[in-house]
Each structure stands twice: as structure tokens, then as C-alpha cells.
């Protein structure tokens, strides 16, 4: 178990820079997920931690020791790969014990550790099989087993669930979480799937174009995204973004979205005052844009929307319409009677609104 810290870590390939100076501190036993679209530098960052890629600049340290020039084999980390990378010519037992055998562990110790890991992962009856005789989920477990038996300082996961079908992915996600709670090894996990990131992480690191957009606990990121990128990336269906105008109206502020306009709640006026008249974007998640209840609560703005598409999901219904040129998605009650082509009274829960400065991309 260990802490890992990255200080101004940079990765350059020839002249192209793919990671632009990353700072990150990972606490002992913490489960950190690096998430972002493909090409954001998350895998490169993980591979630099692993030692598979050289660090162009900056410093990576484990438990306070700089490991920049330490080869992967001496970093005491274990990695699970997207395509599992099991040795095809070895049995499951041999695959899992390979690292220990290289380190010349006593036979008894190896046996004990493999048995223990196999028990945790429920693969005890697969130990004599070859990888090609295993299903995708079983291979995934073996790959994790290979990491667990080493009892390393850090676990590294590189998109480990991407090759599995949807159902198995959910199942293995739970499995990974369960294993982490049991072994409590510091874990860095890379994925492009924000649901995976939210469900697994103690802390999520959202990356985009080689920089860190925001670091935070899953719920914090969800409710208080720092940038437009994070706001749009976290949460499914994604947050609605509507171009808007903010106007000063006496002591308060008025928000104008095309034909709709409403007053900003008093407690937010001070926060937004300085941005009146600027080019802004209004952000609201679909779940905070619902059909209007007659007994409307505080801080709700109501308006009429012309419904364009209705998608019933059973427990809820998604409706789509256009506001100020932007397509907007809302979650409404299945009994709201939403129909394509007919208007519906919608309610915006202003307590959950976000306002984004277009020039900086920051959430205000």
C-alpha cells in the first residue's frame, strides 16, 4: 500500500505533447479513476505511473521516493490490461504465479497466495485451465488474480472492462469494488465510461486534452462541476446547455433564454452579478428539468415547451424540445401526458442550475 504523487508530469512524443503537466496526489488505499474521452492522455498517465512510458518532465513518486528512472519491475505495481494480456501458454495457476515465481518466492507461499486470490475471485476450479478455454469474464478475473497475488503497492487498471458485454461489465464492476474493499490496495483505474468512474471511484479525475479538468468525489463532480467539459461529461443523459443572456433588473438578475425569462434566485445574485451582459451558457441536467407540478416548490421557473420527441422508459419519460436553438432533454413523469407536437408545462429547478462563462469554459 502506498501513496502516489504526480508533480507537473509531462509526456511528449517527439514534438507532440500529449500530457501537459499533471499534478495529482493519491492517498493510501484510495481508489482513483482517471476518466475522459479517448486521446485525453489518461492511459498515457497510467502507463507513466506503471513505468511503461518514460516521463518527459516532472516527477512521479511512490511513498515519497521519486520513481522516474525506476524500471517497471522494481516499482512493485500490478496492472490489468484491456485485453487481459494473459500468457497463452500458461495455465491460470501459472499465469497468476508468474510474477511470484520470477521473484523466487517459496513454493508454499506462492500456493497459499494463489489459493487466496482464487478464493476471493471465485476461480478456484479454473486453475488448471489455459486462457483460451476461459470466457471473457473469467479471463478478466484471472487478470485481476494475477494482480492480487503479487500484493503490490499499487493496482493499475487500463480500461479493464471495455472488452466485456454490457451485462458482464456491470457485474465485474461490482466485483472490482468488492475486491478493493477487501484488499484495500491503492488503485488507479482508467476508463472512458463515466458511469464506471462514478460507481467505482473514491475520487474521480476528469481529464481532457492532456490536462486535468477537475478532481473530486463522484457526487461532488456531479453537483458542482468546475468546467463546462466536466458538466457535460459526467452524468447521463448529459446536461443541457442553452445559450442565455443575464440582465440586471434592479437588485436582482433576470435570465433570458429566447422567449423564456425568469429571475435568478436571490441567494445566487451576488455570485453572478459581475457577469451580467456577458456571453453565457445556462446548464441544467434533465432530471432538474421536469414537468411542472401544481404545488410548485421554491425557486422553480415554469415555461411552456413544444414537445418534439417523446421516449417512454417505463419509470420515467424523456422528452425533447428546442430552447433558444439548443436541443433540450427533460425527464418527466410517465403520467404527465407528454405528446409529440403538443405543449407541456415544464419546470426548471433553479437550485440545480449552472451558469458557464463561454470565454473561459468555467462554471460560475
Amino acid at each position: 500500500m502506498a501513496q502516489v504523487s504526480l508533480r507537473k508530469v509531462v509526456k511528449r512524443y517527439e514534438s507532440i505533447q500529449v500530457v501537459h503537466g499533471i499534478d495529482l496526489d493519491i492517498a493510501d488505499s484510495e481508489f482513483v479513476v482517471l476518466v475522459g474521452p479517448s486521446g485525453c492522455g489518461k492511459s498515457t498517465t497510467l502507463r507513466m505511473i506503471a513505468g511503461l512510458e518514460e516521463i518527459s518532465d516532472g516527477e512521479i513518486s511512490v511513498d515519497g521516493d521519486v520513481v522516474n528512472d525506476v524500471p517497471p519491475k522494481d516499482r512493485d505495481m500490478a496492472m490489468v490490461f484491456q485485453n487481459y494480456a494473459l500468457y497463452p501458454h500458461m495455465t491460470v495457476y501459472e499465469n497468476m504465479s508468474f510474477g511470484l515465481r520470477l521473484k523466487k518466492f517459496p513454493k508454499e507461499e506462492i500456493k497459499r497466495r494463489v489459493a487466496e486470490a482464487a478464493r476471493i475471485l471465485d476461480i478456484e476450479d479454473l486453475l488448471e485451465r489455459k486462457p483460451r478455454q476461459l470466457s471473457g469474464g473469467q479471463r478478466q478475473r484471472v487478470a485481476m488474480g494475477r494482480a492480487i497475488v503479487r500484493n503490490p503497492k499499487v493496482f493499475l487498471f487500463d480500461e479493464p472492462l471495455s472488452n466485456l458485454d454490457a451485462k458482464l461489465r456491470v457485474q465485474m464492476r461490482t466485483e472490482i469494488k468488492r475486491v478493493h474493499q477487501k484488499v484495500k490496495t491503492t488503485t488507479v483505474y482508467v476508463t472512458h465510461d463515466q458511469v464506471e468512474a462514478m460507481t467505482l471511484a473514491d475520487r474521480v479525475v476528469v481529464m481532457n486534452k492532456g490536462i486535468i479538468e477537475q478532481i473530486g468525489a463522484p457526487n461532488f463532480l456531479y453537483h458542482s462541476p468546475a468546467t463546462r467539459f466536466v458538466a457535460g461529461f459526467i452524468g447521463s443523459p448529459a446536461m443541457n446547455f442553452i445559450p442565455c443572456k443575464l440582465e440586471a433588473a434592479g437588485d436582482g438578475l433576470t435570465m433570458r433564454l429566447d422567449k423564456v425569462s425568469f429571475a435568478i434566485p436571490a441567494e445566487r445574485v451576488a455570485r453572478y452579478k459581475a457577469f451580467a451582459g456577458k456571453d453565457l451558457t445556462f446548464g441544467i441536467r434533465p432530471e432538474h428539468l421536469t414537468d411542472a407540478h401544481p404545488n410548485g416548490t421554491k425557486n422553480v421557473a415554469q415555461f411552456d415547451a413544444a414537445i418534439e420527441v417523446v421516449e417512454p422508459m417505463g419509470h420515467e419519460t424523456m422528452v425533447f424540445f428546442t430552447v433558444n436553438g439548443a436541443e433540450v432533454c427533460a425527464r418527466v413523469d410517465p403520467n404527465s401526458g407528454a405528446k409529440t407536437g403538443s405543449p407541456l408545462k415544464m419546470a426548471i429547478q433553479l437550485d440545480h442550475m449552472h451558469l458557464i462563462d463561454n470565454s473561459s469554459g468555467k462554471v460560475l
Binding site: 507537473k8 509531462v10 518532465d57 516532472g58 522516474n68 528512472d69 524500471p71
Partner: protein, 310 residues
């Protein structure tokens, strides 16, 4: 600017300075170079150096005491036998390769045509000539062509064809060496074309059949274009090997009768080793080089193209 400062910082990191040599030995590229070093030594000492040496030898006189420049080349150009060898080498290589490729292509189709479970057996039988060392199998041919006991002539006498001087007459001897070479080399083409035929997707043939193509059109518009690259690589490769062939001609006719079947390799052996004129022999060998180089360039190009397609 910030980058430059960072890079500067990297070089003063004490860990880098402390063990420069050991660091270098642990570097991936150094390890890789060391692993490839035996290969590099072998190729330079036993291939590159001899090649350069043969260029040097070609400029010496017979006793290797005097520099004669292009004297050996000029001498060869004036000798009738040399032009005979050039002519025979070209006839031999081109005819043999054409027939090897044709027979290989045709037989590959026959094997591909029959049900799958029999293919292995037939393929196994048809490849036997390629597996037997040519020096051994050519002896069998030599015995089949024996002037007085030829088993072929014994069979032909039943249909009234008189004893054929397989290796005794210049034209028949030329035919014989080509026949043996085709016999030895055709199975190689067969295997290559069979592998290539199997990689043509069956749907293409079905699509062509639906479009109304007959078997000839299917070969012309589907099979040949799909196999074009492998055909050109095998033909070029075989041109090199056949052009430089030594074993078959040497054992079957030893260049005779009266030097009519000599190719570059056998004549170079005769001149250089048996007659002891090493510089002249080296010169004869060197004449193979331009043709080999041209083939090699085309092979490299085709392989490169193959790599790009994949």
C-alpha cells in the same frame, strides 16, 4: 521557454549522473543492439566482406599478383563461351520459372477443387520434390537419363520413339536441366498459390457467379487480382534462385556437352575452383549481381506494398 527550463532540470538530476555507463547498459536500445550484434557481425564478416572482396578479386590477374582493372571483364566479353553462358542462364531461368509458375498455379487449382479432407494428403505428396535435397534427387534424374539404361527411353521404345540423348545432345540437355528444375521448383509455387487461393473469400466467387461470370472470368477477375502480389513475389524470388542455380546443372550435365548447358554458377565454379583462376571465377559470379539486385528491388517494393495493404 518553460519546456527548456524543464529539460535543463532533467539533466542535473543526480541519479542520471551517478552511473552513466550502467545506465547506458540498461537502456533498451543498448540491450537491443547487443542482441542483434551477432547477426550484424555474421552479415558483415560472411556476406558483406566477401562481396567486397570479390569485387577486389575481380580486378586481379590469374596469379593474383597484379591489378588489371577491368581486364577480366574485357577478357570475358571477348570469349564465346561467356556469351553462351549468358544466353543459357537467361533461357534456363526464364523458361524454368514460367513453367514452375504455370504448373504450380494449375495444380494449386486442382488441389483447391477437391474436397477438403483429401487436400492434405495430395498436398503432402506433391511437395515431396521440394523436400528431397536437390543434389540427391538430381542423381535419380541422372540415372533416369542414363545414356544406355535410361528408364524413360525403355518406356518410349514401346511407342516407337528412338533413344533420346537426354544429356548427350545440346538441345536435349538444355531441355533436361529445365525439366529437372521445374520438377524441383513447381511444388514451391503450388504451396504458395494454394495458401493464397485459400485466403480469397468464397463470397467473392459467389458474387461473381451471381453476376454471371464463367470459370475463366472468375479466375481472370477474382483469383488473379487477389493473388497478384503473391504471384509477383514468388516469381521474382524464384528468378533469383533459378538464375543462381548450381546443383542441378552441375550434377546433371556439369555444363556439357561442350559448355552448352553452363549457367553462371557452374561456369564460375569451373573457372574459379576447378581451373584455379579465382579472379576470373569471381568476375563470372559478379555478373549475376545486377539481375539479382533488380529482382530484389522489386521484391522489396512488393513486400512493402503488401505491408501497407495489411
Amino acid at each position: 521557454m518553460a519546456d527548456a527550463v524543464m529539460t535543463g532540470h532533467k539533466y542535473v538530476t543526480p541519479t542520471r549522473k551517478r552511473s552513466g555507463f550502467r545506465k547506458m547498459m540498461e537502456r533498451k536500445s543498448t540491450i537491443a543492439f547487443l542482441m542483434a550484434l551477432p547477426l550484424l557481425i555474421l552479415l558483415s564478416v560472411m556476406v558483406l566482406y566477401p562481396f567486397g572482396y570479390s569485387l577486389h578479386l575481380a580486378t586481379l590477374n590469374k596469379s593474383m599478383t597484379r591489378f588489371v582493372g577491368f581486364g577480366n571483364f574485357a577478357f570475358l566479353f571477348k570469349r564465346e563461351t561467356f556469351w553462351l553462358v549468358v544466353q543459357q542462364s537467361c533461357i534456363f531461368a526464364i523458361t524454368a520459372v514460367v513453367f514452375k509458375a504455370l504448373i504450380g498455379f494449375i495444380v494449386a487449382h486442382f488441389v483447391h477443387n477437391i474436397p477438403n479432407k483429401g487436400q492434405r494428403k495430395w498436398r503432402g505428396m506433391l511437395l515431396v520434390p521440394w523436400v528431397i535435397p536437390p543434389a540427391m534427387s538430381t542423381l535419380a534424374w541422372l540415372w533416369l537419363f542414363d545414356p544406355s539404361y535410361s528408364a524413360f527411353n525403355w518406356l518410349l521404345s514401346f511407342v516407337g520413339i528412338g533413344p533420346i540423348p537426354w544429356t548427350g545432345d545440346a538441345y536435349w540437355a538444355r531441355f533436361s536441366v529445365i525439366l529437372v528444375n521445374v520438377w524441383y521448383g513447381a511444388p514451391f509455387f503450388l504451396i504458395m498459390y494454394l495458401a493464397s487461393l485459400k485466403s480469397v473469400p468464397e463470397q467473392l466467387y459467389e458474387a461473381a457467379a451471381i453476376d454471371g461470370a464463367n470459370w475463366w472470368q472468375r479466375i481472370w477477375f477474382v483469383t488473379l487480382p487477389m493473388m497478384r502480389n503473391i504471384i509477383s513475389i514468388t516469381v521474382l524470388f524464384s528468378l533469383i534462385v533459378t538464375f543462381a542455380n548450381f546443383d542441378i546443372v552441375r550434377i546433371l550435365t556439369a555444363g556439357g556437352p561442350i559448355d552448352k548447358t553452363h549457367v553462371f554458377a557452374t561456369w564460375a565454379f569451373w573457372v574459379g575452383i576447378q581451373s584455379g583462376d579465382i579472379p576470373l571465377g569471381a568476375t563470372v559470379s559478379l555478373f549475376m549481381f545486377p539481375i539479382l539486385a533488380v529482382c530484389a528491388v522489386f521484391i522489396l517494393r512488393d513486400i512493402h506494398r503488401r505491408g501497407n495493404e495489411a
